[in-house]
């Protein structure tokens, strides 16, 4: 057979959010790339909520965009509602969340994949990995057809030995109604990977015409939304509302009485579920004193009547699901179009991975998304992008792209996963990021442009734009810190009109800008910039000045953090011979194989003395080698 037909640089298994970003990134970097999907009609599907972004996830989507990924663009192209969360707090913790038309999102992504240079999209289910001498060589599909590839990225989501639960009914499925990937799960286990089970679930979908929306509070889209992609200029989709309601004591009684019939409490599920996303049964048991929980109804698309009933996810038999749903005010007549279900699936302990998301066990094999124990489209997409880039780097013999905790949420997530592992589906939260004030949605492209360009993920045009904004920002910050506002009548009139105290002596413009009640735009009327400042730069100036002292503090912390990051631990460093470390720490480090002293320091159980001792051992090793 013509080898061009079945030989690729990078092969990606699974076309969900991780797989799509992985394939696009590798192809964008010039690698011949193959993306395999079990079902060509389920590309970039949203099997759970019809929504993208939210707290910390919004930041991830912006970072994907900054690194040349597709998720933000696809989101804008299919958005039916925009909301900025946390607007009452400062800009560092503003997060964008959209509702999306699921089909539009999927179609958009499929079209992009189909029209990308260097990228083939094919339908196939993978049966086995081809591994020779600890290196991945390709895959074999269920029909016995083999594909050769230099690197393989596996993004199986919930499909790896997936099992759907509704009450006591169990079905092998990757999602309700879809084939599970059984053989590949076994193949990975045979290769010796440390694997576990996780559990997630999804609420029922209701028919819109069977719902009394008047019983719910209506939430409209933000009138003047900020788009996800820095590239999106306008959107054409109509905006749809969502609806807020709550469960009541009757709902809770029904669940309590029928707890033993639920898959979760009936002893059918072994997988670990996420604490932040409890099944409805879980909420009733864990928060027994509450007699009401929120429900949000969201459209699944523009051309469908399916309504996503957020908050009602459960694993009860369908007849009880009906009782639960219909006990809610406004849902008395509701028709369930798709039942809620729980799903268990295999994941690989992420401690098996390097910070490049390559497995330590098999060279050239990368994992991304739920297979790494994470949850969420955004988490998956971001990992996929990174795995795709690093697979391409491996092919092109370039150094891996590793983002650290001070650069991106993506860096925080990957470092958490490969250093500390996870015992529940890992979701991004802003509180996981130490340097939260710096890792904002509004500066994602400014933070990452240089890196993205260095890896050929964005073009020079985008880099130039980011640099211009950054330059303008630093020039204007310099001016604002130096410019003095005189205590004249115009100034004090303006201050009075904005409810701010008058000034009696000359005051630095930056000092005034620090006042909570004053904005950059208002203050430029009394102290205008020397040259026009773009809206993007103006926003940056305002944020950096308002957060000034705290940003300085975080920058100092980053300096200390980088000191330890810079001390690299050699590959295959022999911890057994590192004198003065406890056996427990040695074993942990042996397993994690941290790349730097910084990463080692974040291992559970590390003490300051152990870090010092390790530093000495590394230096001794380096000297020994160079001697």
């Amino acid at each position: 057979m013509n080898s061009a037909l079945n030989t690729y640089d990078v092969l990606v298994v699974g076309a969900g959010h991780a797989g799509c970003e992985a394939a696009l990134a590798a192809a964008r970097m010039g690698c011949s790339t193959l993306l395999l999907t079990i079902d060509m009609d389920k590309i970039a599907a949203m099997p759970c909520s019809p929504s993208i972004g939210g707290m910390a996830k919004g930041q991830l989507v912006k970072e994907i965009d900054a690194l040349g990924g597709q998720m933000a663009v696809a989101t804008d192209a299919s958005a039916i509602q925009y909301r900025t969360l946390n607007t009452r707090k400062g800009p560092a913790v503003h997060s964008t969340r959209t509702q999306n038309d699921k089909n539009m999102y999927s179609r958009h992504m499929k079209t992009v994949l189909e029209t990308s240079p260097n990228l083939d999209l094919k339908q196939a289910m993978v049966r086995d990995l081809i591994v020779e001498n600890g290196c991945v060589k390709g895959i074999v599909d269920m029909t016995g057809f083999a594909y050769q590839a230099g690197c393989v990225v596996i993004t199986t989501g919930t499909f790896l030995r997936g099992r759907v639960h509704i009450g006591a009914t169990k079905t092998d499925a990757g999602r309700a109604g879809e084939f599970a990937s059984i053989h590949l799960g076994e193949s990975l286990a045979d290769l010796g990977f440390d694997m576990g089970r996780m559990k997630t679930g999804t609420p029922p979908r209701l028919h819109a015409d069977s719902i009394d929306f008047n019983s719910f509070r209506r939430h409209e889209s933000d009138p003047d939304p900020t788009f996800f992609s820095f590239r999106t200029k306008k959107i054409t989709t109509p905006m749809l509302p969502s609806f807020m309601g709550e469960t009541n004591a009757a709902t809770h009684d029904i669940v309590r009485k029928n707890l033993q019939y639920s898959a979760l409490y009936g002893g059918h599920i072994k997988g670990q579920s996420a604490r932040y996303c409890p099944s409805f049964e879980d909420k009733i048991v864990k928060f027994a004193d509450r007699n009401s929980h929120h429900i949000i109804l969201e459209y699944e698309g523009i051309h469908t009547k399916e309504i996503y009933a957020s908050g009602l996810g459960n694993s009860l038999p369908l007849d009880i699901q009906y009782q639960v749903v219909r006990s809610v005010k406004g849902l008395e007549q509701a028709k369930i179009m798709r039942p809620a279900y729980a799903i268990e699936y295999d994941y690989v302990n992420p401690l098996e991975l390097t910070p490049a998301l390559e497995t330590k066990r098999i060279t050239g094999l990368f994992l991304a998304g739920q297979i790494n124990g994470t949850s969420g489209y955004e988490e998956a997409g971001a990992q996929g992008l990174l795995a795709g880039v690093n697979a391409a780097c491996k092919i092109q013999k370039r150094p891996a792209l590793i983002l650290d905790r001070s650069q991106a949420y993506l860096g925080v997530m990957v470092d958490d996963l490969v250093t500390r592992g996870t015992t529940e589906p890992y979701r991004m939260f802003t509180s996981r990021a130490e340097y939260r004030l710096l890792l904002r949605e509004d500066n994602a492209d400014l933070r990452l442009a240089e890196t993205a360009h260095a890896y050929d993920l964005i073009d020079t045009e985008r880099l130039k734009l980011s640099r211009e904004i950054a330059d303008q920002t630093s020039r204007e910050i310099r001016r604002v810190k130096q410019a003095v506002v005189k205590p004249d009548e115009t100034t004090n009139q303006l201050l009075a009109s904005l409810g701010s105290n008058p000034i009696t002596t000359g005051v630095k413009l930056a000092q005034l800008l620090k006042r909570a009640e004053l904005s950059y735009r208002q203050l430029t009327t009394i102290s205008p910039p020397l040259e026009p400042v773009s809206i993007r730069a103006a926003t940056q100036v305002e944020i950096e000045i308002k957060y000034d002292g705290y940003i300085t503090r975080q920058l100092n912390e980053i300096k200390k953090f980088k000191d330890l990051e810079r001390i690299k631990i050699p590959d295959h460093f022999d911890y057994a011979r590192a004198h003065g470390l406890s056996n427990e720490i040695k074993e942990k480090l042996e397993k994690i194989q941290p790349k730097s002293l910084g990463q080692a320091s974040r291992t559970d159980g590390m003490t300051p003395a152990a870090i010092s001792v390790l530093m000495v051992a590394i230096a001794a090793y380096d000297k020994h080698k160079s001697a």
Partner: protein, 466 residues
């Protein structure tokens, strides 16, 4: 290793000379800020040459702390191969500690156990074969620090700091839940609870810092000043307390001109006793100087023994002038042998017991005869009772060390900022930084340096979910 570290390099409390070592890029600058070569300068003027011995003074602004020798050593010709400054000072714990604190206030960091040796090794100053020895030193120093901590009953301190830290973690969780789960946290209001928690933690931290100060004087010795009119028997009492002859005892007023100091251990507690010159009106210039010094000693004392003798009549005016206020004081009535014979019977024609102003009635009084060694044992017991009662309590007392004090002081500044943040309604994300920083500072005392899993606290305390 971009920072500058400092530590007392000589063993605790032994030898006549104590050495403080500074190492790191700012060692020269930091040393220059506290060292002057003459009494009149306030900082070093001019360049300090490497490997030369400088004589001069360590000073805190204008106050001279000690007369020292200072040796600058530019890297790599130094122990750590970094810029190193060694200061040889007089070996009093207080002096060394004061100098060290001064260095820390100028930007040096208290070194970790074994850190000088570690730096020496990392800069290839020490041979490769010594790597294991370096690791051992680090481990040994950490272990001995732990042992020392155990000896100081630091378990109790850690427990208390842990409690404070947990309260802060709970508060941080309340703040974080508002940030990360804005839809779930609609009913979370941390302002009242947060102010309460911060008030508690702030006052506790202040108390710990005070305990550190108290402990310092405990280690150095509790200072007792003996004062009273000339010839009332101050020197005799001092000799009794020291149980040795030190002051020249005569019956002539004003024999003792310079305050004479000596240390004594009573019931395991170190005391430093100062015999002051008699406080009285005088024209003698030498005596005037002596008296001024005596007043200084009374001001610095932790306890004053105010001596009178039978027959003394103090007017309210004299009392105000002589009597130390806001000091622990014992009124010691000496020469009781003039009133009672050795069998306790009143002597005929005895002088009157001193008449004192009404303000004196609350002050404990002890009747003694220094000459005949009567009432001295009781006086000692009284002294120990008054001084040590507050310090030892029930054996669970905690003594924060310098490292702890630094951490507490740091925490305190973040806590103050956090409290202001809550009061002025600052956004949660900056409040969270203040809280996180203070939790981290306290964590250096309890030994928790691993990254904090605030999410656990959130999930355990709040109803989170879609």
């Amino acid at each position: 290793m971009n920072d500058t570290i400092a530590a007392i390099a000589t063993p605790y409390g032994s030898g006549g000379i104590g050495v403080i070592r500074i190492s790191g890029p700012d060692a020269m600058d930091i040393a220059a800020q506290i060292f002057s070569r003459t009494r009149t300068e306030t900082a070093t003027s001019g360049h300090l040459e490497s490997h030369r011995v400088y004589h001069g003074y360590v000073r805190d602004k204008t106050e001279i702390i000690d007369e020292v020798l200072l040796i600058p050593m530019h890297g790599p010709r130094s122990y750590t191969a970094e810029d190193v400054v060694e200061i040889q000072a007089h070996s009093g714990t207080i002096v060394l500690k004061q100098i060290l604190e001064l260095l820390l206030s100028k930007g040096a960091r208290l070194s970790e156990p074994g850190e000088f040796t570690k730096r020496a090794f990392l800069h290839q100053r020490i041979d490769l074969t010594q790597a294991e020895a370096v690791a051992d030193i680090i481990n040994a120093r950490s272990a001995s620090a732990l042992k020392f901590a155990a000896a100081q009953n630091l378990g109790a301190l850690k427990q208390q700091i842990q409690d404070l830290r947990n309260q802060l973690i709970h508060l941080l969780a309340m703040v974080e839940v508002c940030i990360d789960f804005p839809d779930d946290a609609t009913e979370v209001d941390y302002t009242a609870r947060g102010t309460d928690i911060l008030d508690t933690v702030i006052s506790q931290c202040k108390e710990f810092i005070q305990q550190h100060a108290d402990a310092c004087f405990l280690k150095e010795g509790i200072r007792i000043a003996i004062c009273g009119k000339p010839n009332v028997g101050k020197s005799s009492l001092m000799n009794r307390l020291l149980t040795k002859e030190k002051s020249i005892v005569t019956a002539m007023p004003g024999t003792t001109r310079d305050p004479i100091q000596d240390a004594v251990n009573m019931n395991g507690v170190p005391f430093v006793i100062t015999d002051t010159a008699g406080i009285h009106d005088t024209d003698d210039l030498v005596e005037i100087i002596g008296i001024e010094r005596a007043k200084d000693h009374i001001r610095d004392a932790d306890l004053v023994l105010f001596m009178v003798e039978p027959g003394t009549v103090l007017s309210a005016m004299e009392f105000t002038k002589m009597f130390p206020r806001e000091k622990k004081t014992i009124l010691v009535i000496n020469k009781m042998d003039l009133v009672y014979d050795k069998n306790g019977n009143e002597k005929p024609g005895r002088p009157a017991i001193p008449k004192l102003p009404a303000a004196c009635t609350d002050i404990p009084k002890m009747e003694i005869s220094a000459l005949h060694d009567r009432g001295i044992k009781e006086l000692r017991e009284k002294i120990i009772y008054l001084c040590v009662r507050d310090l030892t309590m029930d054996g669970s007392s905690v003594v924060p060390n310098l490292r702890h004090k630094n951490a507490l002081t740091q925490a305190l500044s973040f806590l103050t900022s956090a409290k202001e943040g809550i009061i002025t309604g600052q956004p949660e994300e900056t409040l969270a930084i203040d809280l996180k920083n203070s939790i981290d500072s306290l964590g250096t005392i309890t030994g928790e340096t691993a990254s904090l899993d605030i999410l656990d606290t959130i999930f355990n305390n709040f109803c989170i979910g879609k």
